[in-house]
Subunit: 373 residues, 2 copies
Amino acid sequence: MSDIAVPDKKFELIKTDGRARRGRLRLKHGIVETPIFMPVGTVGSVKTLTPSDLHDLDAQIILGNTYHLFLRPGLEVIEHYRGLHNFIKWDRPILTDSGGFQIFSLGKLNKLVEEGAYFSSHLDGSKFVLTPELAVKIQETIGSDIHMVLDECTSFPCDEETARKSMERSMRWARRCRDAKTKDDLCQFGIVQGSMFPELREKSAKELMQIGFEGYAIGGLSVGESKDDMHRITEVCCSVLPSDQPRYLMGVGTPLDIIEGVSRGVDMFDCVMPTRNGRNGTLFTSEGRVNIKNLRYRLDDSPLDPQCACYTCKTFSRGYLRHLFLAGEITGLRLLSLHNIAYYLKLSADIRKAIEAGQFAALLDHHRGLWSS
Amino acid sequence: MSDIAVPDKKFELIKTDGRARRGRLRLKHGIVETPIFMPVGTVGSVKTLTPSDLHDLDAQIILGNTYHLFLRPGLEVIEHYRGLHNFIKWDRPILTDSGGFQIFSLGKLNKLVEEGAYFSSHLDGSKFVLTPELAVKIQETIGSDIHMVLDECTSFPCDEETARKSMERSMRWARRCRDAKTKDDLCQFGIVQGSMFPELREKSAKELMQIGFEGYAIGGLSVGESKDDMHRITEVCCSVLPSDQPRYLMGVGTPLDIIEGVSRGVDMFDCVMPTRNGRNGTLFTSEGRVNIKNLRYRLDDSPLDPQCACYTCKTFSRGYLRHLFLAGEITGLRLLSLHNIAYYLKLSADIRKAIEAGQFAALLDHHRGLWSS
């Protein structure tokens, strides 16, 4: 497809198994083996964990949130520290979102116009306008290995005309973001929009491919739609997006969502679920979900997940973890978050191994059984 | 002093420098080099930290709180896990208080009689009576290497007659605790009471020595008295207590309080200050106190304490720690608590080295200058 611009090649597709893809992404701060889950470090830390913990867990890439970091500590601080990596002392790749999603969900959106989004900070009400150009500038200052274009978050549910207009604005913003990009050593991903309308999704993906990015994300899912819709739209997007570029399903999801995404050709995922659920006492294990508050674990000597090699599972009993959680001990929140991140990263590694071995279908079946029960 | 009972000898006095003592305490779960600061793990975790962290910091012994552990997780759980060490997975020594102090400060004390203290749980109001015998039974179930006798917490300030009656009851309770002791491999410490009255303190110490314990604590200080009173009463107690047994100043204190205590002959200290202050953003460093919230640290590239070897100081800038703290990130609370515990343990090690080298006076002078400025 000679009409598709392919910038500097960062992604290598190593093997496929059905539509599942085993890939390798070469970024400024290191190599990312895909499929991969990316832990979320909203305001400069993956909640309750340290860079040392994340190294021990073999996290390959983490997320930062542009909206949060822009408001606090702010660009001046991040510039002083020569970027987010040095500020937070994380030496592996970082991906940042563009800030758009948080303006719509956390900030107060005052005015949305072609120029950009006028919003008030959720922290102190101070007013800003986030344009595509500023979103790029902030993320280049942050120095994220992968930064995302600014897009408009389409409300859900919405009619096709609303979805079309919103998607078209996102595509114009995507072009402005590409034009504003100044750093060749950092990657920029476009974001496919179009709500639940396959034709809009297809059009969006093709427009982004015309512009040409180092990777493509599927945005606007995990917003309240059915699993069927999520899967259907993921399939549409993956059927259009170039096979030699990475694909990122934003804000997704549960372990089953991830493996279902991989089965449709997605390479990258992020979600606050493992850390947030960890802090709420809900754990993902090889035996399914565990609610650590449950009385049944009071005298349980077994580890949270007998098949997990994380510090939490290698060291403590369910009874002790339950006690820490009920007593409100910060150590408990940390140990539970640590395990959930370990679970998601182990799931990613298992998926990669299964694809390499041509046994992805069996792994998918196993997880469909595990999480539906 | 042949009339003083000296049970099975656990303590070795290695060297003195003035009244400062360098000692070694042999306990069931390991050796404790004194002087030592003991981090407090109220409900089964030193707040924000794990056993692995405490090993890395070379913590030699930690505290547990009998009152908290009795209420939650409760004796049945601790018995099921064959003691606190196995429950919390800490393999080095543990000291537990008797629970008395928490009944007076946290619980609702309903009735105080010769039999014991009737109180209501601060968690759910359920009613209990803590007797000296039960305090011993709970602590032997916990399996703490050192457990404390149940004592009455004398109100402060109080008149001499009140202090005398309270101290005398504590001495009767101390004898009942000694009589109730069943485990030879665990140590039991008596607690000197008598408020700010030297004659009462002397009488209390001598009565405890008549009963005979593996060590002696100074209770009822750090309750609001002046530093002069704290020092004066510490001196009185240390002048009476046997030189060949360990001395423990309960609930003390700031770094300067600790070194002042050592200068008067104290060997052991505990306090929630390093963890609590860590969570409040107040740090102890080789350059004095640091309030990490301060705007001056916003763009500060230097470590929290340039002379500290802890993970926090070896890895992060003051600017990042300030950001984490202001953003309310749990990771920040953990990194700050980690440093403060590291500071207290380093102080303990510095004190031990100074005594060994006969240079304790210089270290004391240094800290007097550092903390008064």
